[in-house]
Amino acid sequence: MFARGLKSLSIASVVLIVGAFALVFFYAPNDADQGFVQKIFYLHVPLAIVALCGFVAGGVFGIQFLRTGDRSHDLRSYVAIHISLILAVGALITGSIWAKASWGHWWVWDEPTLVSFLIVFLLYACYQPLRFAIEDPGRQARTAAVFSITAGAFVPLNFLAVRLAESFTHPRVLSATGGSMPGEMRLTFLVSLAGMAVMFVTLWKYELTSKQASMRLRALKRRLADEDDRWVPAGRSAAPQEL
């Protein structure tokens, strides 16, 4: 079910990401203000944007699950949030490295987007513990869906609040360039963003397919073991176990 298009997506990811990195180092000009350090921007910002979109997508799948009761939406939601969390860690670490290189500190409170992102990350880090703490699969799925919708709605609200809080006292530190972005930079950024987005979808489908395969195998084992009575039920898990 999930594997359709996986091969072409993975090829597209390779092309786009390698292409993007090539553009970053061979094509995009050095920033006037920040110099070479600015190259981190092409990694950090796409990671952050795709992670946030992934979180919101998790909420959308949550809505779908609650509306239709189809467990595959719960699985889609879980995997989307799971992968976005990994990307979010990447965005935070690269953001921190960028802050250290530009500003000398590993963390800056002045940059509202970075701070908002940290808050969103802290929130979504609770997703798996929450799921794990509920044993009944149906209730686990429903509670997780409610959480994903709440957290998804929280993302824009949070960015608004933090921006309001910080922007009036501190100027933006980690902006892409001093003024507007020249054409070469914009192209590189867009390719990078596209590559990150396609990579996300690839990894998402990859994990969905893998999970579905192991679910099917487990169901097979159960059917076959009925006669032998050797089947051992799966232990507690944060991930959806059945479709």
Binding site: A32, D33, L47, A101
Partner: protein, 70 residues
């Protein structure tokens, strides 16, 4: 904000891109271990089917061949 000269800036940029690479490869490693488990489960299923076929053919000679679940 003074621009760092290339010597100083290089390690930071490299570190950032390496973090990205590390995350991707760690993910690949986790997926690989899941694939290993799938392969092992597949072996178990194949073995269970073999055993069932043997008991079936042993128990009743004329029993129709059950279609193997796909």
């Amino acid at each position: 904000m003074p621009a760092l000269p290339l010597d100083d800036a290089g390690p930071y940029v490299a570190a950032a891109y390496l973090v990205f690479l590390a995350l991707i490869l760690i993910y690949v490693a986790i997926m690989a271990s899941k694939l290993v488990r799938i392969a092992r489960d597949l072996d178990e299923v194949a073995e269970l089917i073999e055993r069932r076929d043997e008991t079936r053919s042993g128990a009743a000679d004329e029993s129709a061949e059950q279609p193997v679940p796909r």
